[in-house]
Amino acid sequence: MSADIVDRHGPAPQAAAAALVAYVLSLADDALVLGHRLSEWSGRGPTLEEDIALSNLALDLIGQARLCYSYAGELEGLGRDEDALAYRRDEHAYRNLLLLEQPNGDFAMTMARHLLYAAFLAPYFTALSASSDARLAEIGGKAAKEMAYHLRHAAEWVIRLGDGTEESRARMTAALDELWMYTGEMFDMDADESALSAQGIAVDRGSIRPAWEATLTRVLAQATLARPADRWMQRGGRAGRHSEHLGHLLAEMQVVHRAHPGASW
């Protein structure tokens, strides 16, 4: 069903339901934006093996996004399906973390971004698999296994690039340094998400921090890299205030669907 026929003057959903929709959409946006970023590597990976690996990671994330968009659309009850939510919302409606829309940069940048996020998301989804919301618990259980491999894959590369050649080490150090200011936002929760967490539906993001810290400490030690110094953290993605990069990403991702609404093959 297309967004064209949505009745924009219909009754507003209950506030609690709206909070859940917003939360599930934020999970979906995170997964789709990072999945799309990784898909940009398809055909351009540093080796054939890594090209396929990056596409596999992208497909895991896009699969997670689809599950979340479908659920958000059902909860919303306005007839928007996964395509309407992914392809027909503008930049300011997207709620993804700023970290995930950052450009791929070089391979070190992509792996650094992936380590920083997978180290959070793997334990996050494990916790979500115990959600009191059955659909979220199901999504969490499936995605936790996928993200455990993402973490393993990214960590092995960060270790080898950090503890590698002079050039790979310089690139990985620069990548971690550049991305560090986007890590604070992963742990932010607004009042609505905190309320969902208190009800056992969402996961308390702060509770994931010890696992995230432990993973980074272990991986960076093996990579013989220093943890970037904590500093001012960039935020705004959850409020729809994005870096200049998201608009370009969405333009490329949405152009075919918007040019041919409702087309299928």
Binding site: P46, T47, L48, E49, E50, I52, A53, N56, Y149, R152, H153, E156, R160
Partner: protein
Amino acid sequence: MTEALMPLWEVFIRNRSGMPHKHCGSVHAADATMALQAARDVFTRRGESVSIWVIPSSAITASDPGDKEHLFEPTASKPYRHPTFYTVPDEVGHM
């Protein structure tokens, strides 16, 4: 990518318990851990694999194609070695 930094590894996959690992291809990787991950990413995308082996290609000792006359051709005249003279019951499964 140089052969010295990213040597070749042979990949063997077992798709079901009880069946042997089968050679399915090769990957380039810097070390055994990365070879295992590359093998997973390249060769187990569609299957229900349960186990992967990776072995440095340089560790394999291969027969010389020039030796095929004395290694393999003598068996051509010994059809009695093929177990085709009796039927295998279905219950036996894979042999």
